[in-house]
């Protein structure tokens, strides 16, 4: 049973404030104790809330959870560390704010924690750290620093501008322990007049090359100015089942069985999904252009587009979940059970767990296909399928090689560790760095630097 340490009679309020935070830092300094700071501790797959340095004191900021401001004239939010994606969404609904905050795939994480760890959402503002305008940070000595225009006490542009007079310092506080970020501003998607959820699918493994090149170009020439999210067949299957529903044999589902499943389900091998946001005529024109480009470059593919529009702005919760959800900033928990993929239904004691190897790779079809081909046998040797998805920016993707296992099975855990190192060797050979590293592996990525 969990219990608090209660060897004193002193009672105080819990640390909701920067004053209390300052006191905590003072104690840590006095005894030279490293602090490991997080907001919601949902960095799952990368160590969760566990510290990089064993024996650190965990500094949990989740009770600093005020939404300080949501502005729907200039479309930004200012939040404290503990504000979750669902908190921010609920705040906007409750206060009738005409914005669609970006959300990660699970609604329980911290907006700030995700952003500072270079996390991503699913719309036009999906690269969260690139939408930071001003930060407030407490340094180790208790000093408060505000960045950019936020540094000017009465600036009307505090959260509107990324310009700084002199060097920009926000980057010092991303994936870092150089301070405790206490306030974060983030630009938001205006609630659009029209929204379209589009999909493009292709049937064959090798089709990845053409699809990546075509979409990469449309990301750069601004035909598409939001995330294009790619997922593979196995990811599509795991949304509606577990491995044991599709395959009774040992280890990963073999290719011949995947081919059968493709025929049975009608799924493509690769799916691209993206949202289009804006005035109706602009959204329709974008879609027409994409359709024309893809019918020329990838005639065996299939495209769909589901349009929602409303003069007063589309209401995120009104978009059916299969077309909305994270693409309209409506936070969900539905994707958490996906990691139960490796647990057979009759194994009631099994506990699902997952990890990711997440390299940054240029948006070039040949390189993506090469990565898939090279990483697939490593996954299969570890008894798991190639379960890959990737997030496409203008010039590169962040790829997630996801692996899931039963946490109660020591043998599986050993295999996953081996797989991780196998993928790391592959990435090193090509010079691919990671977008985020597991606490157990941060040193290996730093050592990749020349």
């Amino acid at each position: 049973m969990a219990k608090c340490l209660t060897s004193t009679l002193m009672t105080f309020h819990s640390p909701h404030t920067t004053d209390q935070l300052k006191e905590v830092l003072k104690v840590a300094n006095k005894y030279a104790i490293p602090l490991w700071t997080f907001s919601r501790g949902k960095n799952l797959g990368y160590g969760g809330p566990a510290p990089r340095v064993n024996g650190s004191v965990a500094l949990d900021l989740h009770r600093m959870n005020k939404v300080i401001e949501v502005n729907d004239e200039f479309h930004y939010a200012v939040v404290e560390p503990g504000v979750t994606f669902i908190d921010l969404y609920n705040y906007c609904v409750e206060h009738k704010k005409k914005v669609w905050p970006s959300t990660a795939s699970l609604g329980w994480g911290s907006v700030m924690g995700n952003t500072l760890d270079r996390g991503m959402g699913f719309g036009a503002h999906f690269v969260h750290h690139q939408n930071i305008a001003g930060l407030e940070v407490m340094l180790a000595d208790g000093d408060l620093v505000r960045t950019g225009q936020f540094g000017i006490t009465n600036s009307p542009s505090a959260f509107l501008s990324k310009f700084t007079f002199g060097p920009s310092i926000e980057g010092l506080f991303l994936q870092s322990n150089m301070g405790v970020v206490t306030k974060l501003s983030m630009w938001l998607q205006p609630q659009p007049e029209a929204y379209m959820l589009c999909t493009f699918s292709m049937p064959e493994f090798e089709d990845l090359e053409v699809i990546v090149d075509a979409f990469g170009e449309m990301r750069r020439n601004n035909t598409i100015n939001s995330l294009v999210w790619f997922s593979s067949l196995v990811e599509t299957l795991c949304i509606s089942g577990r491995r044991s529903d599709y395959w009774k044999g040992e280890g990963a589902i073999p290719d011949w069985r995947l081919e059968e499943l493709k025929k049975e389900t009608g799924y493509g091998h690769w799916y691209a999904r993206w949202g289009l946001y804006g005035p109706r005529r602009v959204v329709q024109a974008q879609f027409e252009e994409i359709k024309a480009v893809m019918s020329k470059k990838a005639p065996t593919g299939g495209i769909t587009g589901a349009l929602y529009d409303s003069e007063g702005g589309v209401v995120a919760a009104d978009v059916p979940i299969e077309h909305g959800g994270m693409f309209v900033g409506y936070p969900q928990m539905w994707s958490l059970p996906l990691i139960s993929w490796p647990i057979p239904r009759d194994n009631v004691g099994g506990k699902p767990a997952h990890g990711d190897y997440a390299p940054i790779i240029p948006s070039k079809g040949k390189l993506l296909l090469e990565w898939m081909k090279d990483s697939k046998p490593l996954c299969e040797a570890a008894g798991v399928e190639l379960m890959a998805d990737f997030f496409m920016m203008e010039r590169h993707v962040v790829l997630m090689n996801m692996f899931t296992w039963d946490q109660t099975d020591v043998t599986q855990k050993e295999k996953m560790e081996k797989l991780y190192y196998g993928l790391h060797e592959l990435a090193k050979k090509s010079g691919y760095g990671m977008y985020r590293a597991h606490v157990n592996h941060m040193g290996e990525f730093l050592r990749m630097r020349g």
Partner: protein
């Protein structure tokens, strides 16, 4: 005196998911570790100082640290590789 970790999410769906992910009774009990190069006596004093700063209900040690370990730690059965905090403050 509190005998359980307070809830972290007001929404029951979120709280259930949280509790299912961070087991209240980890299969491998969390052993006390000290911060690097900090003596036990100093650590005990530091805990008292943290309590003075934030209150007795906001400092956690030992089994109350179950929210602060990696639920997917592949090294959870190996004490020399497992990463655990010495205490938590909120």
């Amino acid at each position: 005196m509190s005998t359980a970790i307070p809830k972290t999410y007001p929404d029951p769906e979120y709280e259930d998911a949280h509790q299912a992910t961070y087991e209240r009774k980890p299969r491998y009990p969390i052993k006390q570790v000290l911060p690097p190069a900090v003596r036990e006596k100093d650590f005990a004093q530091a805990i008292q100082d943290f309590i003075a700063a934030v209150g007795q209900d906001a400092v956690f040690v030992n089994e109350a640290l179950s929210d602060y370990i990696d639920p997917y730690d592949v090294h959870e059965h190996e004490d020399d590789k497992r990463k655990v905090p010495s205490a938590a403050v909120w």
